[in-house]
Symmetry: none
Subunit: 267 residues, 2 copies
């Protein structure tokens, strides 16, 4: 899923969304500079550009962070250093914290999805908001957690909940982007599976092989430089049809029938 | 966001969800064994356990993959090797492919969120489904993409769309989990320590009555035309706190304490 549309880039990599307020990401005592860079990269995917670092162990700035950011320089270059979490959140009116742990205290807990909706509403009400992410190994202390009014916890497999810090940042950045003006989903074609069995990959491949053999034979695919595109478009068209096994057999019968009477190869 | 509830683990790390069918993840010619391991880890977070590898460059099995999987051994150990993508999808009836690139052909495109809903429906109709992920640097070829009927593309910052392969797998695994029975956690919830419960209406009313009586007594609410608004604001503030019964008692103790020593009514 790599690919940047440079035509839509501006200096912040945000295009039309550069002026919208967005949450600050606060990394509390991150240990590895490389992880900070990976968090910068994750942030910019979701249009987040404002990073605050509390006591990064490897110091700041750091070449390994820049390398790991993979081009998210706008985030790296504008990161701000703080000595304490309290100072890092001092100007924020809404603070969220991420944790996977069950805590023995009363807190409001939201999924990343719900938190993103909540944050979109909060910035519209002119809140300055931020999200705390804890240390790689130890997370946030209870004292740090109490600086937040809301905990963000992703519902994941309870038998194996194991995100690294950049992945946790990505969850939040991804949902933030989905909840905003840039996150409008494309139209989705609604398919209703029939109660007969859908064709499997081998059956579809058999259909494609059969059809392309006949199309080669009849000269339809005779221009070598056009052949790959034409084959691809034909396959895409048939794939979109979500054919049943019966329909594949029907189509192969059609191909055979046409090829015979149209002077095909008579396989 | 690290933290595994080992009490809910079984040998597959899936607890009650072990028997539900779920999508196969197909990595096409992954280059680094470490990335395969990180994909295994990402998968298991979303309850995905079935991995297929097409021509992994570093060979298979590989110790770096095991290390990077961070305990997702069930995925690593059960991974299957294939020589071609066609063989890897031969038994599948629905194939999805991930890409961030705009392609010059007509394909059904879904967000990870919509695709997860679609996949949940597909497995209920007894489809065997899989998701293709391309090479780290080059993604999928158009020919490989044409094996799929649906493209999964995450709406992300168009000026900086840059996910590594494990993050792309995580997007899909995360949304798959959200769309299923394990993702039914309410969007917003509140954790309550086991030794208490949320205060009920009578207890909150008792708190309000107590507080307002003391505020009347000390003169805080002395301006009659302002009183209703002030009372409403105070109640709203405390209601938003979703207090526990224990916290209500604590607050009433605070009110009593302050009122006594501040010259209150000494109820």
């Amino acid at each position: 899923m790599a690919g940047t549309d440079t035509q839509q880039s501006d200096h912040r990599g945000l295009g039309a969304f550069a002026d919208l307020p967005s949450p600050v990401v606060v990394l509390v005592e991150p240990q590895l500079a490389e992880n900070i860079g990976m968090c910068c990269r994750a942030m910019l995917n979701g249009g987040l550009t404002e990073l605050r670092l509390v006591n990064p162990r490897d110091g700041w700035p750091h070449p390994k962070a820049t390398a790991a950011a993979s081009g998210a320089d706008v985030v790296v270059d504008n990161a701000k250093l703080f000595d304490t979490v309290e100072e890092a959140v001092a100007d924020l009116t809404r603070v969220y914290a991420t944790t996977a742990r069950d805590r023995d205290s009363t807190m409001r807990i939201m999924t990343p999805h719900a938190a993103a909706q909540d944050m979109r509403g909060a910035v519209l009400s002119e809140n300055k908001i931020g999200v705390l992410f804890g240390r790689e190994a130890k997370g946030l202390t209870n004292a740090e957690l109490s600086l937040a009014d809301t905990v963000i916890a992703a519902p994941l497999n309870p038998g194996f909940k194991s995100l690294n810090i950049a992945q946790a940042v990505l969850m939040v950045a991804y949902e933030w982007w989905q909840a905003g003006p840039g996150g409008e989903a494309p139209d989705i074609e609604q398919t209703i599976p029939s109660d007969t069995r859908l064709a499997n990959g081998a059956e579809m491949q058999g259909l494609f092989d059969h059809l392309e053999r006949e199309l080669d034979a009849c000269g339809f695919l005779r221009v070598p430089e056009k052949r790959p595109t034409m084959v691809r478009n034909i396959r895409n068209t048939l794939n979109r049809a979500h054919m049943t096994e019966q329909e594949v057999r029907t189509f192969r019968g059609i191909i055979t029938g046409l090829a015979k009477h149209g002077g095909g190869t008579n396989h």
